[in-house]
């Protein structure tokens, strides 16, 4: 089994509420997969399960063959899973540069004593980190903004910075939680190109949670649909678009306000 990510019958129960039930799916290396579902379907809960914020009540999650549950979120990031958040969570008091620099901490060879002694090895590493960050910002046209407080970026740029910060952890799997939320049509267009560009340039798998069907249908190779925490469909965008269960989940089944 060479899947990057593999969920096997994952269930999580919050008291009487079964937020995710018997969910199974896999993501292959370099694959771009969409996870969709109506509001409250459990999409963000799935993210929190994969990133170790929650521990599943039952079932197992494998990342490159390693069992995820039981690891702390920061350990999972070190294994190679990075994420962005539904509502942007940058470090508000830090500059654009320092936001990305935070992701570099876990790659450092030199720890606290080197930071205190500030010898040549430390200085070389700091220079290397700086160059790496500026390169990364350069790729996404944010280099000119490197030393600006992240708060003064435009909304779209803040979203992009969050993605850059996640990429700086050098992940093998990137989880994007509603990256198009709050974007205008032009920005969404740009985002679609950006996501495909990231997948190709960094050669990573991407799992995308998104409400905007145009974005999801436009770029995902495969789409997984969940409703009430249960998978109701999986397939190519074309399959999903015509799947009666998906249409029912989104538009309701029996009579009433069906305006497709």
């Amino acid at each position: 089994m060479s899947a990057t990510l593999q969920l096997e019958d994952v269930t999580i129960q919050f008291g009487g509420l079964r937020a995710v039930g018997d969910l199974s799916f896999g993501i292959q290396p370099g694959e771009l997969v969409g996870l969709i579902g109506p509001n409250g379907a459990g999409k963000t809960t799935v993210f929190n399960l994969i990133t170790g914020v929650y521990t599943p009540t039952a079932g197992q999650i494998f990342f490159n063959g390693i069992k995820i549950p039981g690891h702390q979120p920061h350990q999972i990031t070190k294994l190679g899973i990075a994420r962005t958040f539904q509502n942007i969570r940058l470090f508000p008091s830090l500059s654009v540069f320092d936001n990305v620099r935070t992701s570099m901490v876990m790659h450092q060879q030199h720890g606290i004593t080197h930071a205190l002694v500030r010898g040549p090895a430390y200085r070389d590493e700091e220079k290397l980190i700086e160059a790496e960050i500026l390169d990364l910002l350069n790729i996404f046209d944010l280099r000119g903004m490197a030393h600006v407080p992240c708060k003064s970026l435009s909304y779209g740029d803040q979203r992009r910075l969050e993605i850059i910060r996640a990429l700086a952890t050098k992940p093998k799997l990137l989880l994007l939680d509603e990256p198009a939320a709050g974007m205008n049509p032009t920005e969404k267009e740009g985002l679609m190109h950006l996501i495909q560009f990231i997948r190709d340039k960094f050669d990573i798998a991407i799992l995308l949670v998104e409400h905007d069907m145009k974005v999801v249908m436009g770029i995902c190779q495969r789409i997984i649909v969940i409703e009430y925490g249960v998978k109701i469909a999986e397939g190519t965008p074309a399959d999903i678009r015509t799947n009666p269960r998906v249409i029912a989940a989104y538009l309701g089944t029996d009579g009433g306000g069906e305006h497709a």
């Binding site: 508000p92 606290i112 700091e126 996640a166």
Partner: protein, 321 residues
């Protein structure tokens, strides 16, 4: 370039404090005493700033760590000082300095261990809850010291007397320089981004691979270590210490310095520590109103300038982009 500057600044500060120390007999005793108080308060404020300012954990128990350092170091000089001197070849400036250094380090390390013990469980708490736990720890240390046997090593409610007056200008300002350098170097390094990440957004920090618990404990341990050193310096300056000197109000004094100076701004916190210590001295006649003035000052600050007098970032050089 920048890194060499910080090394150079540290060496310069050490040299200057040694120089001033050597001619400190020329200085007026009263002003020298105020200066030493300023130095000790700078150490306390800068070290608390690592916890409260940079790491964003609200600790209200800094005086307790100072107490641990004061009692720890005093016990070394009082109980073992004589025998250490004998081993070091009789009383003299060198033997005295070595004894004092060992005493200070014992005080600092004991405080750091206390910081670790208190930090491990309580840093799972946030905000107000952590403030309450650290406040409680402050009171526990004070009450425990107060209720020890009067003839025992801690001296009970009366505290310890006859501590040798080893603290000099050099010791205070060398320690202050080392504290400022250590915390500055740490916070400005890539490694130090972890502290700021914990303050800004713990969940995002975890997601970027930062072990937030480790950083919180580390901030607590380093902060407590320097508070312990400050306590040791204080004890060997005053030559008498009592549990009352390390009560909750002492912790509040330090918190006020950090908040007035600007949380997370080393320069601001140093300025606030200097100004408040000097102000305290000149307002000695109005001692009973001091706390009223401080609280009013804090309220006015919160309304007019919540980011502090010299907020963090004001002095950060902008790098070439």
């Amino acid at each position: 370039m920048k890194h060499h500057t910080s090394h150079f600044a540290l060496l310069l500060a050490l040299a200057v404090s040694l120089g001033v120390s050597l001619c400190s007999s020329q200085l007026d005793d009263y002003y020298l005493d105020i200066m030493l108080n300023v130095g000790i308060n700078v150490i306390l404020a800068v070290s608390l700033n690592l916890v409260n300012g940079h790491t964003g954990q609200f600790s209200l128990g800094h005086a307790a760590f100072m107490a641990v350092g004061a009692y720890g170091s005093s016990m070394v000089t009082l109980e073992m000082g004589a025998s250490m001197m004998r081993v070091l070849g009789g009383a003299g400036p060198v033997a005295e300095s070595v004894t004092f250094l060992v005493a200070l380090l014992v005080g600092g390390v004991s405080a750091a261990v206390c910081g670790w013990i208190v930090g491990m469980p309580s840093l799972r708490l946030r905000g107000d809850y952590l403030a309450i736990v650290t406040l409680g720890f402050n009171e526990i240390i004070r009450v425990v010291l107060q209720n020890t046997n009067g003839d025992g090593p801690f001296g009970g409610a009366l505290g310890l007397k006859g501590i040798p007056a080893y603290t000099s200008f050099f010791w205070v300002f060398a320690t202050a320089a080392i504290a400022i350098y250590t915390i500055g170097a740490l916070v400005n390094s890539t490694y130090g981004r972890g502290f700021l990440a914990v303050r800004d957004d713990e969940i995002a920090g975890e997601s970027m691979g930062i072990n937030t618990t480790r950083y919180k404990v580390l901030a607590f341990v380093i902060g407590s270590f320097f508070a312990g050193l400050a306590g040791g310096l204080y004890a060997h300056l005053r030559t008498t210490i009592s549990p009352e000197g390390f009560n909750f109000l002492k912790s509040v004094d330090v918190v006020v310095m950090v908040i007035l100076g600007g949380m997370g701004s080393t320069v601001g916190v140093i300025v606030a520590a200097v100004v408040l210590t000097v102000l305290n001295e000149f307002l000695r006649d109005f001692e009973q109103y001091r706390m009223i003035v401080f609280s009013l000052l804090l309220i006015v600050m919160m309304i007019v300038r919540p980011q502090g007098l010299l907020p963090a970032g004001l002095f950060q050089r902008r790098k070439r982009a």
